[in-house]
């Protein structure tokens, strides 16, 4: 199916700034879904609030554009309510990990099957360039005019610690890897996290003198390396790309089906324990 058949043309033009990385993520996501041959009726996209969350409006799936930080909570109800759906949850770094941080770790802990895509541009773009939990120490933002003293955390480490059973990272420069990782994440039977470093030339780039969108993408090329590469050993500051975790664990909805079987098999007289 051509890519245009996956988008809602009446929703365009999109609201992303020129050079924004989020369009690349949208493109990669549609190509991943196209390669998987999924029917549009079996996909639900649930998003929160922010630049990244507008992605749900542009695609021709069942789409739920919710409130700030809570996309995974809505998605959990939707998925448990209808486990046959493929649920994809695109989020920004602030949406997923500041206001939504609690839902993020608990969705990971439950291992409920869905694909969380964190489009990490290290800034609150929609509100105009405030620092996010992933901006990092020493960065500049409209709410850190004298430099940011908040430390960031590593999305991959956090996801692994919280129990996500598929954890990967790549960037908008490495678009073929992104398509490949998204395919694997969507197929994964459990909670999958894909962090995509996605440039915001308008705010993060401008505030931190990162140059143009192309400069920022070149930066992703230079500052990242495949997991366990020789380059990483020589330069530990490089950010690793690839699939960090891919393991099998009991999936929440399937486990709940077992609970139903257990409950139904029980006689009425069995007391509540």
């Amino acid at each position: 199916m051509p890519v245009k058949d996956y988008i809602r043309e009446r929703f365009f033009p999109h609201l992303w700034c020129p050079g924004c990385g989020h369009g690349i993520v949208l493109n990669a996501l549609i190509r991943a879904i196209e390669k998987l041959g999924l029917s549009k009726n079996e996909i639900a996209m649930v998003s929160g609030i922010g630049c990244s969350s507008r992605i749900s409006g542009y695609v021709d799936f069942h789409t739920l554009h919710t409130i700030h930080g809570r996309a995974l909570a809505f998605a959990t109800g939707l998925k448990l309510g209808l486990p046959s759906l493929n649920v994809i949850v695109p989020m920004g770094d602030g949406d997923a990990l500041a206001i939504g941080g609690n839902h993020f770790i608990h969705a990971a802990r439950r291992n409920i099957e869905m694909t969380a895509i964190i489009m990490n541009n290290r800034i609150y773009g929609m509100t105009g360039g405030q620092y996010s939990p992933l901006s990092g120490y020493g960065t500049m933002a409209t709410t850190a005019p004298f430099s940011n003293i908040d430390h960031d955390f590593d999305v991959v480490d956090l996801s692994i610690a919280a129990g996500a059973t598929f954890v990967a990272r790549t960037t908008t420069f490495h678009v073929h890897q992104l398509i490949d990782i998204l395919q694997q994440a969507i197929l994964h039977e459990g909670f999958s996290v894909v962090e995509v470093l996605s440039q915001c030339p308008t705010y993060f780039g401008r505030k931190n003198k990162m140059g143009s969108a192309a400069d920022m993408m070149t930066h992703y090329k230079d500052q990242t390396t495949p997991i366990g590469s020789k380059a990483k050993k020589e330069n530990p500051a490089l950010i690793e790309r690839g699939v960090f975790v891919q393991k099998e664990m009991p999936e929440y909805c399937k486990e709940y089906d077992k609970i139903i079987e257990r409950a139904m098999g029980r006689s009425e007289s069995t007391p509540i324990s």
Partner: protein
């Protein structure tokens, strides 16, 4: 056939009512004094193939039921004051997106953590205005377990009819008190099921285009119609819009669909009101003490009557005005600083004749408390 008779807590009566109404998805978070509802649901729902999930907080609980409602389920969550405060943003989302759901708030003393195990009716106005922006809301309450059951069923019926969240405002006394419930037989109480669109696959379905009768047929997520749901102002397709006509059209629709049906939504009970000189107005567990006073004083020749409210929002202004017209005094009995009192004063022709009998100390309001206020109003001394 003999009726099924149960002896149980009000929280359990709520569970019975919800299951009778067809509830098949519950998400919640433990909080006193509503926890028994979640506990019972975790046991009862999987037995009928339904789903229960304990979420990480009350915010995610209400979000989860909204998601599950879109998957076609009848859904509910239950909480108390602090949790209800956390739910307000998502409550507004359900109002804006017109997604049916039921939210139980078993009231306890507030503000803040307040009195977790004591009774209060302090969330009446929060239920009306807790979430931001202009909106209409439906909130029901009950004073005994038979009515807890019936109002719970009503809550689901109204949620489906008007595609809106419905709040069940119970209180700690009703929730934890044990008394009899006669469970209605199947089909004895009518149920409203989800209205689903008859639009066929391949034909344009407009999720936010009301039918002639004002109702909005739904299409389950995962079905043949793919559409957008957003908390932004949106057009009939569910696409965001800031067009002034679209914005005010949607806001008026959200208000009118409930406010214009106030008389259909109103549930109340009248006791000895025909010749009443003193009209008591109460609801929830307070109404039990108010009713006791009426029944106790009537044989002594005191012309007392009671209006027991079961629909708190939309407030039954017409009914209240009507029953208070010939009263010398109106006494609102509630366990707060006068929240329903404000609406009663707005409703009646002479606000000066409206008084308050209340308790705000976590103790249940007794008939004696009410009589003491009555004596003052009637000029019989303190």
């Amino acid at each position: 056939m003999e009726k099924k008779i149960l002896f149980l807590q009000g929280n359990e009566a709520c569970v019975e009512g919800a299951l009778y109404a067809g509830l098949d998805f519950f998400a919640g978070y433990p909080i006193t004094p509503s926890t028994e509802i979640a506990e019972q649901m975790s046991f009862r729902l999987p037995k009928i193939g339904g789903k229960f999930i304990q979420m990480e907080d009350e915010i995610s609980s209400v979000c989860a039921i909204i998601g599950a409602s879109l998957a076609g389920h009848k859904v509910m969550t239950a909480t108390s004051g602090p949790g209800f405060s956390l739910m307000q943003e998502a409550l507004g989302y359900a109002i804006m997106t017109e997604i049916p759901c039921v939210i139980v708030n078993v009231q306890r003393g507030g503000p803040s953590t307040g009195l977790p195990t004591s009774v209060s009716q302090g969330d009446v106005n929060q239920a009306r205005w807790g979430t931001h922006g202009d909106h209409a809301i439906i909130a029901l309450t009950a004073s005994n377990h038979q009515d807890v059951f019936l109002m719970t069923v009503e809550a689901f019926n109204l949620a489906e009819t008007y595609r809106t969240p419905v709040i069940l405002l119970f209180d700690e006394v009703v929730a934890h008190m044990r008394e009899r419930l006669v469970v209605p037989e199947k089909d004895e109480v009518s149920l409203v099921h989800r209205l689903r669109t008859s639009v066929k696959e391949g034909v344009d379905y407009h999720p936010y285009l009301p039918r002639e009768d004002g109702r909005l047929p739904m299409s389950d997520f995962g079905g043949v119609h793919r559409y957008n749901v957003t908390g932004l102002f949106h057009d009939m397709w569910g696409f965001p819009s800031s067009n002034p006509g679209v914005v005010q059209g949607l806001l008026r629709h959200l208000m009118d669909k409930i406010n214009n049906n106030t008389n259909r939504i109103n549930r109340f009970k009248k006791y000895d009101l025909d010749d009443a000189e003193v009209v008591l107005i109460s609801y929830g567990s307070s109404a039990r003490s108010a009713l006791h006073v009426v029944q106790n004083r009537r044989p002594r020749g005191e012309r007392l009557g009671l209006l027991e409210l079961q629909t708190l929002w939309p407030f039954p202004f017409d009914v209240v005005r009507d029953v208070c017209r010939n009263a010398r005094f109106v006494l609102v009995v509630e366990m707060n600083m006068g929240q329903a009192l404000q609406s009663v004063k707005l409703a009646v022709d002479e606000p000066g004749k409206v008084f308050l009998a209340n308790r705000i100390d976590g103790s249940f309001i007794t008939p004696t408390d009410i009589r003491n206020v009555l004596r003052v109003i009637q000029g019989k001394g303190v």
